[in-house]
Amino acid sequence: MVLTRTFDEKAVALQRTGRLGTYASSLGQEAVAIGVASAMRPEDVLLPSFREQGAQIWRGVALKEALLYWGGDERGSAFKEQKEDFPVCVPVGTQFPHAAGVAAAFQSRNEKRVAVAVGGDGATSKGDFYEALNVAGAWKLPAVFIINNNQWAISVPRSAQTAAETLAQKAIAAGMPGAQVDGNDVIAVRDAASRAIERARDGGGPSLVEAVSYRLSDHTTADDARRYRDEKEVSAHWKEDPVARLRTYLVSQNAWSKSDEETLIGECVQAVGAAVDEYLSAGVANVGDIFDYLYARCPPDLAHQRDEAVAFARESDDG
């Protein structure tokens, strides 16, 4: 969680100084990402939206890769260590049907693995969300759907998003269990996610977990939440900051000291700093790459366009 926060802070700073593209911070929602990721096994598959960098990093996506992606470089989704997880999904809610497909693959192969998709509160208004839950229920798939209910879909508050009393209850329509959990409590998130994931792994079918959190940041660096959100509301939610809550708990258990904290923060800052150096020195890929990965083999028709682009880039010394 501390690494995620350190990463988010650095990413926003890079964006503000023109060295990263638009970035979606997960400030205040670190417990959702880490609670879920820590409940998964390595062989499970994560299907994130665009605010699960904490979960991605936990599961082996390199910090440098995450920076590359948000810096506008496809190589950032060519994860070297994490072979099967899906990349960031930008079109809201469209990752849920993929989770059903991945889960159907596990079911077809009789594998005890689980597909875990994560989306936001706004995503539960999408047809794909319901279509995915419905097919997962009908086929009893080993899939778990996590909703990071951070109360805001850009400027639309949870209260205006749906008249449903909870997002968890949307599971009922698909014939699966739905649980609501305190998304600012990493231990609670991990517990709820573990129950759902192990149930799916044991053949019990899919379920939905709504983790109730709060988006302490803007939607992205391209957003200014002061246009639509009272700052008093935000400051009130800082009292639920999941990182501070975990620290308080650990200290109360005599399991955490100031020097532990200093060491951890130092390690995180160092890891992120090293990743930033790698990212900034990664250079730009070859122009041919925009053609070379579109199909397994570049069709002759497209190869002509590739030749043209490569030649133009060479002429302009930008290849």
């Binding site: 598959v45 496809e74 190589r75 989704s77 060519a78 994860f79 072979k83 099967e84 899906f86 990349p87 079109p91 469209t94 849920f96 049907p97 993929h98 989770a99 059903a100 497909g101 991945v102 889960a103 159907a104 693959a105 596990f106 079911q107 077809s108 597909a115 047809g127 794909d128 279509e131 995915a132 419905n134 097919v135 009908a138 086929w139 790459d289 925009i290 990965y293 579109l294 199909y295 397994a296 083999r297 069709p299 002759p300 028709d301 497209l302």
Partner: protein, 326 residues
């Protein structure tokens, strides 16, 4: 006279692909016990079981999205959209994900899926059952778009599409599902994607068409032959990636081109072919390129659909005018 219809060829290809590769999975609405509303999947459930022949909920976006997930996991899903008119809820999954997965992960994940859909008019079907919107998909980078026009080509091209490592939208001209039969060996031989088929050779005029329109076009070519005009007939078969070379070579030979398609004129795939010829064979043209297409109207309901569909008479008229042009 042959023995195999186009829809039977689809079924034979599916069965053959499933037999030779356990990763091939068929899914869609009513594909199981019902064998598909056109019977393209008849008998597959009994033969391969319900893990490989999956009836889906009535949920087109889920069909396409589940195919993406299965394909990323190494399966070769063949999803069926019951009619092309119902494909639009799945377009987000096709355009935003299936077509992009390989590229956006730089090859880490791939999407070897096929999405089949019967398309086109002329069978007096209800509203939303008769459109031809292949150009929408041909516009999308990362997809392949294939349209067979005979039983043997349906068999060979569908096998190729299933074995292809990238996503293929496979549109089946349902008007000729049972219009004629062919004989061919069910031996698992695929045809190449990305290649036009020259169905008839000629020196005077080039007809370029695809799907069910090959029926009217070949009939028109027969009529022209009676007048001593030898028309070459090219079945495009794969709209994307386009085999422009075959078309350009033919136009270089004949100097006259008539493009025939059922889809509306504006932005139809005929416009792309016409542009390629303008770019690559302008000096060979002896007459302006002509397009005989559906109109830029909503597909009429059955009582008037015959006014919309390009007829042999219209196809002939365009050819004769092209021949008479200087």
């Amino acid at each position: 006279m042959g023995e195999i219809t186009l829809v039977e060829a689809v079924r034979l290809a599916l069965a053959r692909a499933m037999e030779e590769d356990p990763h091939v999975i068929v899914l869609g609405e009513d594909v199981g016990a019902d064998g598909g509303v056109f019977r393209a999947t008849e008998g597959l459930l009994q033969r391969f079981g319900n893990m490989r022949v999956r009836d889906t909920p009535l949920s087109e976006s889920a069909i396409a999205g589940v195919c993406v997930g299965l394909a990323a996991q190494g399966f070769r899903p063949v999803g069926e959209i019951q009619f092309m008119g119902f494909i639009y809820p799945a377009v987000d999954q096709i355009v935003s994900h299936a077509s992009r997965l390989r590229n956006r992960t730089r090859g880490r994940l791939a999407c070897p899926m096929v999405l089949r859909a019967p398309y086109g008019g002329g069978i007096h079907a209800p509203e939303h059952h008769s459109e031809s919107t292949e150009a929408i998909f041909a516009h999308v980078p990362g997809l392949k778009v294939v349209i067979p026009s005979s039983p043997s080509r349906a068999y060979g091209l569908l096998l190729a599409a299933i074995r292809d490592p990238d996503p293929v939208v496979f549109l089946e001209p349902k008007r000729i599902y049972r219009a004629f039969k062919e004989d061919f060996a069910d031996d698992g031989s695929a045809l190449d994607l990305g290649r036009c088929f020259t169905l008839r050779e000629g020196d005077d005029l080039t007809y370029v068409t695809w799907g069910a329109m090959i029926m009217e076009t070949l009939a028109a070519a027969d009529d022209l032959a009676e007048d001593g005009i030898r028309a070459e007939v090219i079945d495009v078969a794969t709209l994307k990636p386009l085999d422009a070379d075959t078309i350009l070579r033919s136009v270089d030979k004949t100097g006259r081109l008539v493009i025939v398609h059922e889809a509306p004129l504006t932005g139809g795939f005929g416009a792309e072919i016409s542009a390629r010829v303008a770019e690559g064979a302008l000096a060979s043209l002896l007459a302006p390129v002509r397009r005989v297409t559906g109109y830029d109207t909503v597909m009429p309901l059955p009582k008037m659909e015959h006014h919309y569909m390009p007829s042999k008479v219209r196809i002939l008229k365009a050819a004769r005018e092209t021949m008479e042009y200087a």
